[in-house]
Amino acid sequence: MDVSEDRAPDVNALIDALRSRVEDRRRSGAYPPDLEEELAAHFQRISLHRMVPNLDDLQSAMEELGRRAQFAMERTPVDSRVPGGQSLHRALAKLQSRQVVGVLAQVNHFADALLQVLGLMVAALENPNSHVHSDLVGQIDSVFERVAGYERAPLSAAEAVADLRHRVEELEAQERRRTFNPWFSNARFADEFRGTRAELLERYRDAAARFVGHGPVLDIGCGAGEFLQLLAEQGVEARGVELDADLVADVQRLGLKAEVGDGLAALKAVPDESLGGVVLNQVIEHLSQQEVVDLVLVAFDKLRPGGLMVCETVNPQSLYVYARSFYVDPTHVRPVHPAYLAFVFREAGFESVEIDWRSPPPEEEVLAVAGGDGPEAMIHDANVARVNQLLFAPQEFALIATR
């Protein structure tokens, strides 16, 4: 008996729409998988397999008990097959009647009390609250309510979890890019590429001399402690902070003060206007843009007026740097332009800001000028000078700022 032709077309379209709506919600996870099957199985369990106590039978047994619990002397048989026995029974009963009536009264009394107790017990059985702890029922209800709440908002919860997971993955990826944990030692790396300790001591001797009268000094990223050593030689109170625990141990063995830690955190930890100097040698090219600007501002707060800050880094104005040194260190993030860095220091409030150019490329690397008085030679030499300036500008600069 097909009646589909009776149905109005819009209802047919509606049925199709409803069907695809269910499919969409299933696919998106809004409807839990197998929900219909689980609901059907749940009802099967309830309706076919769960015990239902038969209280009706108990009730009718109680009624029957009530009818029988009536004790009376008249219900005791007095028949006898012995001639005259019946009269004898009656006479004996009459003699005992006072006692019998007394006993019967007690039995009836007891039976009534017993029936009452049984009645109360049956009533208690019928009322689940009396044998199921009401607190427990309340707790079960609240659990149901919470589960229903979660079921009601599966879309948003799933989306929120997916979003969080995505963000955590992104953050982890960023962190992986930021952190670099090589299996080789930083000391070996420094030996290979930064020069010997003696060379470094020689190189920074003049810079350290600037800090006389500017103690205490905080050397952020103190490495193997060359600058700290120079400061100590000058009698300037100083301590270093360094991420590499092996390097810190080396510094401490030299009798110098250093600790493992993050530079910005160490700087933040000292009282305002308590430092005479801050040193950042070959550090800021390892930092993020945000860390650079934060560090400058915090350093300003921690330096007392007249305090000195020296910040040495690679010079991005020298293209030679990119070819020879910058990418040798895999932990370099980006070079910082001296003009920008000077701007940041001035904006932070430093009184004077100057740039000291350092480490010009070796003479033999620089393009030679022809020398000569002819106009062609002069043009050639001017061009060479311009190319040299671009390619072979000093490899490093130190920004020297006074608060």
Binding site: V3, D6, L14, I15, L18, V22, Y31, V52, D141, F144
Partner: protein, 359 residues
């Protein structure tokens, strides 16, 4: 000549009892007519006579008289009575519920239903005329071996409940405590009516789509164990807005229909399903599943879910009926036409017409 009707059971508000009493009043214009029942509710004792009395009836030519038997369940005593009587026999088939869904809950009742079908088949040779209130039931009769089968609509006073004053405390309760949309089901809590499906669909609706919707389930159950299971299902799915109202008065039912935003039956077996038309008469949009005679009764005036649609799709359909005003308006308008189609006079004329052919 006399025309009497025989029922297995009669109770107030029951569609078959009402149809029999209505027909009796019509027949009384023509000849003596009574309604006899093997079992009856005390509230209809003034209208219905006990079947045992029938034997004492004096009739000069009983073979000229007509007995109309309303078939809806098996009953050995009624069957024997019908087999042995000399009167001409007419069967009105209201359909017998399938036995299988009842087996796990009440094997004895399932046996009665099975017996009912066997008895109905055995009466085929005796019956001169068989009336079915749906084409679905007519097919059923033909498959049982009946020959002279006609379709005549159920004599149903669709507007009866409209004239019943809504029960004031119920109206007050609905106004005060029932906020949000209301879905209504009216029908006995029996396995083939699938109240479990209804509640699962409602669960999907309030959990994922329309959390504020209420469900009112009206109807008694003659299977205590099944009723307990339905009750437990509602509790365990945590559906505080579902109300298993049980058997209610006409006044309460009228209040429920007036408040309802949609009527949903998940039933898988109906010979006619009068509540669908009652809902339409109250201008409540109707949702049902394509089973048995339901598509015939609903016509184009409701949303019919295909038989393979699960509770989730039913939940979606309920949400659509709640939220889609254009759809609601369209269904209500078609419902009005449908109710006119099943009007009382047409049904009376059809049944009387078929009976008169026999004379």
């Amino acid at each position: 000549m006399e025309i009497h009707q025989v029922l297995v059971a009669a109770s107030p508000g029951d569609a078959i009892t009402n149809a029999a009493l209505d027909l009796r009043d019509l027949l009384r214009d023509v000849c003596p007519s009574e309604v006899y029942a093997r079992f009856y509710d005390a509230r209809v004792a003034d209208e219905v006579r006990p079947l045992r009395e029938f034997r004492h009836r004096q009739a000069a030519h009983p073979e000229d008289n007509i007995l109309i038997f309303h078939a809806s369940i098996g009953e050995p005593e009624v069957f024997t009575f019908l087999q042995e009587r000399p009167e001409r026999l007419v069967i009105v088939h209201h359909n017998i519920s399938p036995a299988e869904p009842f087996l796990p809950y009440d094997p004895a009742f399932a046996g009665l239903l099975d017996g009912g079908r066997r008895e109905l088949a055995a009466l085929a040779r005796r019956a001169e005329l068989a009336l079915a209130d749906s084409r679905f039931n007519a097919h059923d009769l033909l498959s049982l071996g009946y020959r002279n089968v006609r379709v005549a609509p159920l004599i149903l006073d669709v507007d009866r409940l409209q004239r019943v004053e809504p029960h004031e405390p119920t109206v007050h309760h609905l106004d005060e405590n029932v906020k949000g949309p209301v879905a209504l089901f009216v029908g006995q809590l029996l396995p083939h009516k699938r109240p479990d499906f209804l509640i699962q669909a409602y669960h999907a609706l309030v959990t994922y789509l329309e959390p504020d919707t209420h469900l009112i389930v009206v109807g008694a159950s003659r299977l205590p164990r099944y009723a307990t299971a339905i009750d437990l299902l509602v509790k365990e799915l945590n559906l505080p807005r579902a109300w298993l109202a049980g058997r209610v008065s006409d006044g309460q039912l009228s209040a429920f229909y007036r408040r309802a935003d949609l009527f949903f039956t998940a039933s898988e077996h109906e010979g006619f399903c009068a509540p669908l038309l009652e809902a339409m008469a109250f201008r409540v949009p109707v949702l049902a599943r394509s089973f048995a005679a339901i598509p015939e009764t609903v016509g184009d005036a409701g949303v019919l879910l295909p038989a393979d649609a699960g509770p989730l799709m039913a939940g979606e359909a309920m949400a659509e009926l709640i939220g889609n005003d254009r759809l609601r308006a369209g269904l209500v308008a078609r419902g009005d036409e449908r109710v006119r189609h099943f009007n009382l006079e047409r049904a009376r004329t059809a049944v009387l017409g078929h009976l008169l052919e026999m004379l």
